[in-house]
C-alpha cells in the first residue's frame, strides 16, 4: 500500500486528505479508478471461470443503467418523477431498428438514394440470405433517433415541467401508455413481435456493436466505457453552474427562482437530456441484442427505472449505476426465477428504507473513515511525511 502511494506521486496527507500528483485526490478520480478496477476484475473473473457468456447479460444491464441514470437525473436534480422513460428508450430503439432494417432496395436507382448513399446515410449490406439490402446506416439512424427523441421530449416536457407537483409523472405516464399501445397496434413496428434482425453497428477501429460471441469482451468494455464517460460528465455537470442551479431547484424551487434561476428552462433541459440518455440506451441495446420488443415501452419498465433510480440514491449517480447494474444483471440471468418481481419489490423497499441516500453513500463514508484512520495511524507511527 505504501509503495502504491509512492507510485502515485509522493502521497502526503494534508488535513486528512490524500494527494494525487501534488493535487488533492478528487473523490471522482478515486471512483473512476474503483470503477475500472471492479469492471476489469469482473471480466477477468468471468473469463477465468469459463463463464464468459455471463458478460452478455452484464453488458445489457449496463446499457439499462444508462437509462436509469437518465431517470435519476430528472428525479435527483429536477425533483420530479418521470414514468415515461421506457417509452423514450423504445422511441430510440425502435427508430434505430426500423431505419436499419427497412429495405429500400426498390429505390436504388432513384437519384436521391444515390445521393444519400454518397453521403453514407444509406448503405448496401448483404442480408441473412446472401441478397443485398439497402437501408439507413446505424450512424444516421442513431442521429435520427436522437433528433426524434429531442422533439418528443420537448413536446411532452415543455407544458408539464412548467407546472409544479406530480404533473410530469402523469404526463409521462400517459405518454408511455400511448407509445406502448401504438407500438402494439402498428404492423410497421412489428406489433407484438417487435423488430428483429437489426444489423451490427460498425463503430470503426475493428469495433462492432453486436451481441456475437467473438465481440463479447470488446462490447463489455464498450458499455463500461460509455457508462464511465457518462458518470464523469454528469459528475462535472453537477459541480458546474448548471448543476448548482439544478440543486437549488431541487431543494427549494421558489428560492431558486427568486435568485434568478430560470427554473422552467433548467428543468426542461434536464428532462430532455435524460430522455436522450434513455433513447441512447435504447439504440445501443437494440444493436447489441439485435432486436427490440414492445415490452420495452411498457409501464412496468418505466416504473422499474424509477424504482432503481430511487434505490440507487437519485442524485448519487454512481450509486444508481451500481444498484441498477447489479439488480438488472441478476434479473436478466433469471436468478430469482418466478420470484423475480417479488424479490425486486422487496429489495427496493429494503434499500430505500435502510439507505435513503443510496447504498454507496454509507459504504463510501465507511471507507473514508477507514482510510483517514489508517493515515492517522501511519502519521502517528512515522511522523508527518
Amino acid at each position: 500500500m505504501a509503495t502504491l502511494r509512492h507510485l502515485l506521486g509522493g502521497a502526503a496527507t494534508t488535513g486528512g486528505q490524500a494527494q494525487f500528483l501534488g493535487r488533492p485526490w478528487g473523490a471522482a478520480a478515486l471512483r473512476v479508478l474503483a470503477f475500472v478496477a471492479v469492471m476489469a476484475a469482473v471480466q477477468l473473473a468471468f473469463c477465468a471461470a469459463g463463464k464468459a457468456y455471463c458478460l452478455t447479460q452484464l453488458t445489457m444491464a449496463i446499457y439499462y443503467a444508462v437509462a436509469v441514470i437518465g431517470v435519476a437525473l430528472v428525479m435527483g436534480c429536477a425533483g420530479q418523477v418521470s414514468l415515461g422513460h421506457g417509452a423514450f428508450f423504445a422511441v430510440g430503439g425502435y427508430t434505430s431498428a426500423l431505419l436499419t432494417t427497412c429495405d429500400l432496395s426498390a429505390f436504388q436507382q432513384a437519384a436521391w438514394a444515390a445521393w444519400l448513399q454518397s453521403c453514407r446515410v444509406l448503405v448496401v449490406r448483404p442480408d441473412l440470405y446472401g441478397g443485398q439490402v439497402m437501408s439507413v446506416s446505424p450512424w444516421a439512424a442513431f442521429v435520427a433517433a436522437m433528433l426524434l427523441t429531442l422533439v418528443v421530449a420537448c413536446v411532452i416536457g415543455y407544458p408539464s415541467l412548467r407546472l409544479r407537483g406530480h404533473y410530469l409523472a402523469m404526463a409521462t405516464l400517459g405518454f408511455g401508455l400511448i407509445v406502448h399501445k401504438i407500438i402494439l397496434g402498428s404492423a410497421l413496428l412489428g406489433a407484438a413481435d417487435g423488430i428483429t434482425g437489426v444489423p451490427a453497428w460498425r463503430l470503426g477501429a475493428g469495433l462492432a456493436l453486436t451481441g456475437k460471441a467473438p465481440d463479447r469482451v470488446a462490447n463489455y468494455y464498450l458499455a463500461c466505457g460509455l457508462v464511465l464517460l457518462l458518470l464523469v460528465v454528469l459528475g462535472n455537470l453537477v459541480r458546474s453552474r448548471v448543476g448548482r442551479a439544478l440543486q437549488a431547484i431541487h431543494d427549494r424551487e421558489l428560492a431558486a427562482a427568486v435568485m434568478g434561476v430560470n427554473t422552467a428552462v433548467y428543468k426542461l433541459k434536464a428532462f430532455v437530456f435524460s430522455a436522450l440518455l434513455a433513447a441512447m440506451a435504447g439504440v445501443f441495446l437494440t444493436h447489441y441484442s439485435g432486436g427490440i420488443g414492445p415490452s420495452e415501452a411498457g409501464v412496468l419498465k418505466s416504473v422499474r427505472y424509477v424504482a432503481l433510480a430511487a434505490a440507487g440514491g437519485m442524485a448519487n449517480f454512481w450509486g444508481v449505476a451500481a444498484v441498477s447494474i447489479v439488480i438488472n444483471y441478476f434479473s436478466l440471468r433469471g436468478w430469482f426465477g418466478s420470484y423475480d418481481q417479488a424479490v425486486f419489490g422487496a429489495l427496493l423497499i429494503l434499500i430505500i428504507s435502510l439507505t435513503p441516500e443510496g447504498p454507496l453513500q454509507p459504504l463510501g463514508a465507511w471507507l473514508r473513515s477507514l482510510a483517514s484512520r489508517w493515515f492517522a495511524k501511519r502519521e502517528a507511527a512515522h511522523g508527518p511525511a
Binding site: M75, G79, V81, P159, S160, R162, L163, R164, G165, H166, Y167, A169, M170, A171, L173, G174, F175, L177, I178, K181, I182, L184, G185, V299, L300, V303, V306, A307, A310, A311, M314, Y339, Q341, A342, F344, G345, A346, L348, I349, I352, S353, P356
Partner: protein, 297 residues
C-alpha cells in the same frame, strides 16, 4: 337496438367502470391529503378486497364475506402505514412514492403465490349473468346498479364523515395544516393511519362490487392504480369529490373510445384527452394551486 339506446349502453358501462376509478382516485386523495404521498399500491387494495371476498364466500354467506374482506383490507391498509410510513416519516415524498410502487409489486406477487394466476369472481349479488333490468331502452345488469349504488353511498358517506363528524373534521384539519392540527390536540400520526385504513377499505369495497362484472385477478391492481391516478389528477389532486367527476370522465372517455376506435387504442384516446385537459387546466378540473403548494412545503 337503435342508436340512442346503444349510446346509453356504452355510457352506462363507462359510468360503471368510471365509478371504480373514482373510488381508487378518492383513495389516492385521502392518502395524498394526509401524507403528500401518491400511494401507487391503491389498486392492490381493490384486488385484495375482491380476492379475499371470493375466498371467504367458500365459508360464509356473501354479505358476511364482503364485510369481512373490507375489514381485513382496512387492517392491511393501517398495517402498511404503521410498518412503513410511520417509521419512514423523514424520507422525502419522492422516496415514499417509490416505496409504494415497491409495496404494490410485493402485494401483487404475494397474491400470485397465496392464490394463483386464475381469474375468479364473486357471484352476482342479485340475479345472474343473464338477468337484466330494462331502463330507457337499454338493458343493464342488476350488478351495475349494485356498483353505482354502493359507490354513491360510499361517496356520500365519506362526504358526511369528513364534513360533520369530529374524526372527519380532525382529518381535514391535518391535511390543511398539520402543525396547527397538532397544536389543537389532534394526533396527526393516527389520522394518517386512519386515512390509509379508510382508503384501503373503500378500495376493497369497490373490488367486491365490481368482481362479478370485471372478474378479480392478481394483476388487476396496477392498471386500476394508473386509471385512478389519472382520475385523481383530472379531478384535481387533493379534492376527493373532484375525483368522482374525474373517475366518471375517464370511464366514459374509455367507453367512447371503445365504441369509436379500433380495439387496443382505447387507452390512447383516454390518456390523450387527459393530457390535453392538463395542458389547458394544469391543476385539474377542480384543483387549486394553493392545495398543492400547502402539501409541498
Amino acid at each position: 337496438m337503435d342508436h340512442g339506446s346503444l349510446a346509453l349502453q356504452y355510457l352506462l358501462s363507462g359510468i360503471t367502470k368510471g365509478s371504480i376509478y373514482a373510488v381508487v382516485a378518492i383513495g389516492f386523495n385521502l392518502i395524498f391529503n394526509a401524507t403528500g404521498v401518491l400511494n401507487f399500491a391503491q389498486g392492490e387494495f381493490v384486488m385484495l378486497g375482491g380476492m379475499l371476498a371470493v375466498t371467504l364466500t367458500h365459508f360464509v354467506s356473501l354479505p358476511v364475506a364482503v364485510t369481512g374482506a373490507v375489514l381485513a383490507v382496512t387492517l392491511v391498509g393501517c398495517a402498511l402505514e404503521l410498518l412503513f410510513f410511520r417509521p419512514l416519516r423523514r424520507h422525502s415524498v419522492l422516496l415514499m412514492i417509490v416505496i409504494t410502487i415497491g409495496l404494490s409489486i410485493v402485494i401483487q406477487e404475494a397474491a400470485l403465490h397465496l392464490w394463483d394466476e386464475k381469474v375468479r369472481s364473486l357471484p352476482y349479488f342479485t340475479g345472474n349473468e343473464v338477468s337484466s333490468v330494462k331502463m330507457l331502452g337499454a338493458a343493464i345488469s342488476p350488478q351495475v346498479l349494485w356498483v353505482l349504488g354502493t359507490v354513491a353511498l360510499a361517496v356520500v358517506g365519506l362526504h358526511v364523515f369528513l364534513k360533520f363528524t369530529l374524526q372527519g373534521r380532525a382529518m381535514r384539519a391535518c391535511s390543511s395544516n398539520p402543525e396547527a392540527a397538532m397544536l389543537a390536540g389532534i394526533n396527526t400520526a393516527n389520522m394518517r393511519t386512519l386515512s390509509f385504513g379508510l382508503s384501503a377499505g373503500l378500495g376493497a369495497l369497490a373490488g367486491c362490487v365490481i368482481s362479478p362484472i370485471t372478474m378479480t385477478h392478481y394483476e388487476m391492481g396496477a392498471p386500476l392504480a394508473i386509471k385512478g391516478f389519472a382520475a385523481a389528477i383530472l379531478g384535481g389532486l387533493g379534492n376527493p369529490m373532484g375525483a368522482v367527476v374525474g373517475g366518471l370522465l375517464v370511464g366514459v372517455l374509455e367507453a367512447v373510445a371503445v365504441s369509436r376506435l379500433p380495439a387496443g387504442y382505447n387507452d390512447v384516446a383516454a390518456f390523450a384527452v387527459l393530457l390535453l385537459v392538463l395542458f389547458v387546466r394544469p391543476h385539474g378540473l377542480f384543483g387549486s394551486l394553493a392545495a398543492e403548494q400547502a402539501r409541498e412545503c
